[in-house]
Symmetry: C2
Subunit: 413 residues, 2 copies
Amino acid sequence: MIDHTRYLSGAARAYEESAIRRIGAMGTRVPDLISFAPGYPAPSTFPWDELRAIATELLERRDGNVLQYGGTRGYRPLVEQVVHALTGRGVRTTVDEIIITTGSQQGLDLACRVLADPGDVVFVELPTYSGAIAAFRNLGATLVGVPQDEDGISIQGLHDEIDAVRADGLRARFIYVTPNFQNPTGLLMSARRRLEVLELARQHNLLIVEDDPYGSLYFEDRTRVEETRPMKADDTDGRVVYLGSFSKTLAPGFRVAWLTAAPTLANRVELAKQATDLCSGVFDQRIVHQAMARGVVQAMAPQLRTLYQEKCAVMESALRETLGDDVSWTSPRGGFFLWARFAPQVDDLRLFDRAIANRVSFVIGSAFYVTDDGHRLARLSFSAPTPEQIVEGVRRLGRAVAELSSPSHLHAG
Amino acid sequence: MIDHTRYLSGAARAYEESAIRRIGAMGTRVPDLISFAPGYPAPSTFPWDELRAIATELLERRDGNVLQYGGTRGYRPLVEQVVHALTGRGVRTTVDEIIITTGSQQGLDLACRVLADPGDVVFVELPTYSGAIAAFRNLGATLVGVPQDEDGISIQGLHDEIDAVRADGLRARFIYVTPNFQNPTGLLMSARRRLEVLELARQHNLLIVEDDPYGSLYFEDRTRVEETRPMKADDTDGRVVYLGSFSKTLAPGFRVAWLTAAPTLANRVELAKQATDLCSGVFDQRIVHQAMARGVVQAMAPQLRTLYQEKCAVMESALRETLGDDVSWTSPRGGFFLWARFAPQVDDLRLFDRAIANRVSFVIGSAFYVTDDGHRLARLSFSAPTPEQIVEGVRRLGRAVAELSSPSHLHAG
């Protein structure tokens, strides 16, 4: 066997493994593990009966197009549904601005390919979605982190970093943001901050990539729907590339998501996608289209909002009871994630080792930083486990924290 | 609206549209068009009843994993089936060498990302699959074409081009070949030539990307199964990255294919895929797995071989009757394509215009060249149209050729 490392591209040598995926893989090897790691929707919410009826009918009709190659932009009636759904959220768009993508992860990859050359700068929130970090870095982008406060990405921080980047002679391309229930912090960017980021992008000739998988999963007791209004809705000059997905609101196994951008950009994204996978799964798109046409997705949304709010409440209450002052967090107002901050002496990697020993997992905070930060933090997903698993998982997490604080527990636990 | 062209990456500015996809899109706008353009499998072969039974059972079991995110490498039992199927074709491999991809198009994109940096040289056959040209060029690779003879890619041509590339100070990375029923020529590379290419790659420290979507679709009257033996089967030092697909042997709408490479390379391909789409469609993979487990795919293969051989014969006979000496070709021994060569005065683009006017389409020969060649050639797919459509389509093509030869026909046809 030859030494294959010498055949790797420079980009491939630099690839970093996604911490989330690595931790997910680990989960399959620990028996009876309770996982707060992946951002998986609750499988209890999958509409099995409706999907079975849809799949059966689609295959009964023997329409060859259902299993054939499809157009790169996606199944047209599904594209039209996306336009309609976006209109309902205040986003005026047209079919020539939509590309169906193989999950939003593909949207991140394609957007970066079309907007940034290797070495170009992309601004990201500190912390930000680790899958976006991987997608952008794999394409050679230089990631510059900008701090967040409770209202979202810092405007002053953006100004400062943009100035610094330009002083360094680098080319700044776009700002990547997740305004609704950010991954990993769960933060909801304020309406005012959204407008300020748009205005700043205008001033500095930057584009914005807005990632919005959780927008419809707001907790109704704490968040008004108007507060989730996409930045794209106020994008008067076509500066925002918007990513949406059916992965969190129907099921991720179909890999159906979409990208919305001005026609000139959408045309290039289409060409990039052509060469990347020709088209997204056609049968999957037909199923999602029918799930929209029959109102299945729409009917699920209020139930999902209630379910995830309840699960979040269970986790918050369990954390308070079990860990008390050893952990703090900003209460999520929607989405899947609680961003837990531990005492200064807690290191996320060491905590993770103890957690795995106690059969509970999470994603280490540092995985979401493009700087060397986040070591006191952990992303706890409350979306997939049952309430009972959440309570038991937090109990295990409590043991892990205790073991870290007093090493004598290591052999007593 | 801002001027978005100034926001495009250098790569995106250079994207070329796939001629096949453009022509495919055109097809939807011409009423009653007979299309010899896309390499679509015959929809009449889709096993509707079996797929309906499989989909129904998968959704009845309410196993959350069926609709959840899945591992980046793919659904493990499907990976094991791929290993088994490859063993049957003489390829010894293991699960740690397989990545399930979102169609083979993704395999091309990922392989090139992992093996070539922008500017690096990839050797391709003249002509070659236009989707590979797009995938490699979009990633900034420099494509160098090597002529083919009836036995496949020219060894002397490869030697010459490798020397020239190295004399230019460029870095040569891999040779892309489609030994079985090449797209677009339909050529079957001889067994001897396969071994010679392997040996040449060894001498020059190059890898090989072997694309094999049509290997099991040989015409039994003209081709022995041994002649389709993948180069990967004789790859003793892990030099071949092999791409296989279920798109032509089951259905393309599922977007399920695979890449086989030495573990070091497969690990990097996994990381590249993680950042590209996280995982391929999970429901799709489960369906394909069941279609393999129940022997559906295996049972289809002999029927597909017979069907496509018959369709090919219909096209060949129609071409002889209609066009006589105006067209010549090497008789396909498998696959989906007939590579038609017209008289010297015929230009593929002009012929295409006349063909569309006569409601028949094909892919222009020049779309498959990385050089300015192929203008007398056309790729005619016999796979998707019915025998009656093939006969009528060739009749229309004959009219188009006649109109080109004597312009007075233009208004008489």
